[in-house]
């Protein structure tokens, strides 16, 4: 399809391209984004050509045909923007309207000034209760996990997000203090973590590799260094990694 052609043109001919996509939903997003960019570019060129041509051409009586000059182009634009909207809404619905499947791997992401914590529920697939009073990064309990809760025993907290490829991930975003923005450019993922709320996003990473996790919502003086690393690994590597994590916990 021509769109992929455009994509390749963009990514090859342009030294400053989008970061390579590493998620399942990213490809469609990229296509739609590039389609939009090309349309914008075309309209930009068209408008400026009309502008310059109109300025250079010699004087003539003023246009009077409201229908031809104003309404027909408007209808055309309306159709164009309408189709773009519908396309975008369908992509949006696909990623956001429905929750994750029950088999999705659950990871809790917690933003605090100025660091990301990642918590894996462990074998019981349930996160232990957290209490703000218990938050003590110094004593190795940055999330304030309540030890008296049986579920919390096998929770693993890491500073690096490790995910298996090709499995749906269900991220539960939380923030301890202020609003943070959880963003993984390569996964075409962005969602604010709001204090007092748990916000779910779900996606499927596909390409193994290490990627950047950024904070994209101004959260204080350390905003610029609030980043973490995402490692997408093969399912086998992931199981061994989590096993190793359990070792380290004991």
């Amino acid at each position: 399809m021509p769109l992929s052609g455009l994509t390749s043109v963009w990514t090859t001919s342009n030294p400053w391209s989008l970061p390579a996509n590493a998620s399942a939903h990213g490809l469609a997003l990229d296509h739609h984004l590039l389609l939009n960019l090309w349309i914008a570019l075309a309209l930009l060129a068209l408008a400026h050509i009309i502008l310059l041509a109109g300025l250079l051409a010699r004087r003539r009586n003023e246009a009077t045909n409201l229908l031809r000059v104003e309404y027909i182009p408007l209808v055309a634009l309306a159709v164009l923007f309408g189709t773009l909207t519908i396309k975008a809404e369908r992509l949006w619905a696909a990623t956001r309207y429905t929750g994750a499947s029950l088999t999705a791997l659950q990871v809790e992401v917690t933003g605090a000034q100025f660091v990301w914590y990642f918590r894996y529920p462990g074998p019981d697939a349930t996160f232990g209760i957290t209490r703000p009073q218990l938050i003590a990064p110094g004593e190795g309990n940055p999330l304030g996990i309540d030890p008296s809760d049986p579920h919390s025993a096998d929770d693993e907290v890491t500073s690096e997000l490790v995910l298996p490829a090709d499995r749906e991930i269900d991220l539960a975003l939380r923030a301890q203090d202020v609003i943070h923005g959880f963003s993984i450019p390569e996964l075409r993922l962005k969602q604010n973590a709001v204090p007092g709320q748990t916000i779910h996003i779900h996606f499927t990473p596909v390409t193994p590799g290490t990627y950047a996790i950024l904070c994209t919502q101004l959260c204080g003086l350390g905003h610029y260094r609030m980043n973490a690393t995402l490692r997408i690994v093969t399912p086998a590597e992931f199981t061994s990694w989590s096993a190793h994590q359990k070792e380290s916990i004991r």
């Binding site: 209760i129 209490r131 309540d146 007092g196 748990t198």
Partner: protein
């Protein structure tokens, strides 16, 4: 000029100079209903009365007050919005249950009484306002035949001031009663709103009373009839708006908590 029924040039000029130069100094009969001429047959002469007539200033101020009240309404709407959202926001408690800890603040019974007072004060205010525009009296007063308007309007105006002060006192009592039950501004989510809404409204009424007192003084200070009319009229519209607003806010606090 096209052939339309228009006052002749001199008349027009005089009118304009008067309109621009006299700041309602009353050199023109205040009940004069002359409408402007000129234009090019663009139904200029079919304009609504008072648009070019003597009450130019009055209507200008009315319009200004309308816009001020419009933006004030948005102010309160924003607060009410916050009320609805905070009312239905909860959190996960220590036992991992989702709880909503909104506890309605029981409104003191005296608020009903206060509301009644405010409604009555609106009526008296309207009566005072009506007295300002009785044409015969206006003519008399403008011609300097006594002060019939002042005589008629002052009692109602004073009544409004008294009732307004009574309302504020009543609100104060309400706050005292809540404080006696150890319900303060910071006590609970709903008490925030009770004190905030009643407080902000009280501030508005306070301003209103200040204006009313100014109007009262204006009867003795201001030499211009129109100025007096404007102050009373403006105060009246403001007062009505605050009255209606209070009824909504009261309903919100009484029934929607």
């Amino acid at each position: 000029m096209p052939a339309t029924i228009t006052p002749n040039k001199t008349d027009q000029e005089r009118r304009r100079r008067l309109e621009d130069n006299d700041g309602g100094s009353g050199r023109r009969p205040p009940t004069d209903k002359r409408t402007g001429g000129g234009g090019d047959g663009d139904n200029w002469n079919d304009r609504s009365h008072g648009h070019r007539g003597p009450y130019e200033r009055l209507h200008r101020y009315r319009l200004g007050i309308f816009f001020a009240l419009a933006s004030d309404l948005m102010f309160f709407v924003a607060i009410v919005t916050t009320f609805f959202v905070n009312q239905s926001t909860g959190h996960i408690n220590a036992y991992n249950h989702y709880v909503n800890e909104w506890v309605p603040t029981l409104i003191p019974r005296i608020l009903w009484f206060n509301t009644a007072i405010l409604i009555v004060s609106t009526v008296t205010m309207e009566l005072a306002r009506r007295q300002m525009f009785r044409e015969n009296d206006v003519m008399d007063e403008w011609l300097g035949l006594g002060k019939p308007i002042t005589r008629r309007a002052l009692p109602w105006l004073s009544a409004t001031i008294v009732l307004g002060l009574a309302f504020l006192a009543g609100q104060w009592v309400a706050w005292r009663q809540l404080a006696a039950q150890h319900v303060f501004f910071r006590t609970s989510q709903s008490s925030h709103f009770f004190y905030l809404i009643t407080g902000v409204h009280a501030v508005h009424l306070f301003v209103g009373i200040a204006v009313l007192i100014t109007a009262f003084a204006a009867f003795y200070i201001s030499r211009h009839l129109e100025t007096r009319q404007i102050i009373v009229d403006g105060a009246a519209w403001y007062w009505h708006a605050m009255g209606i607003l209070w009824i909504f806010l009261f309903a919100l606090l009484a029934f929607f908590q």
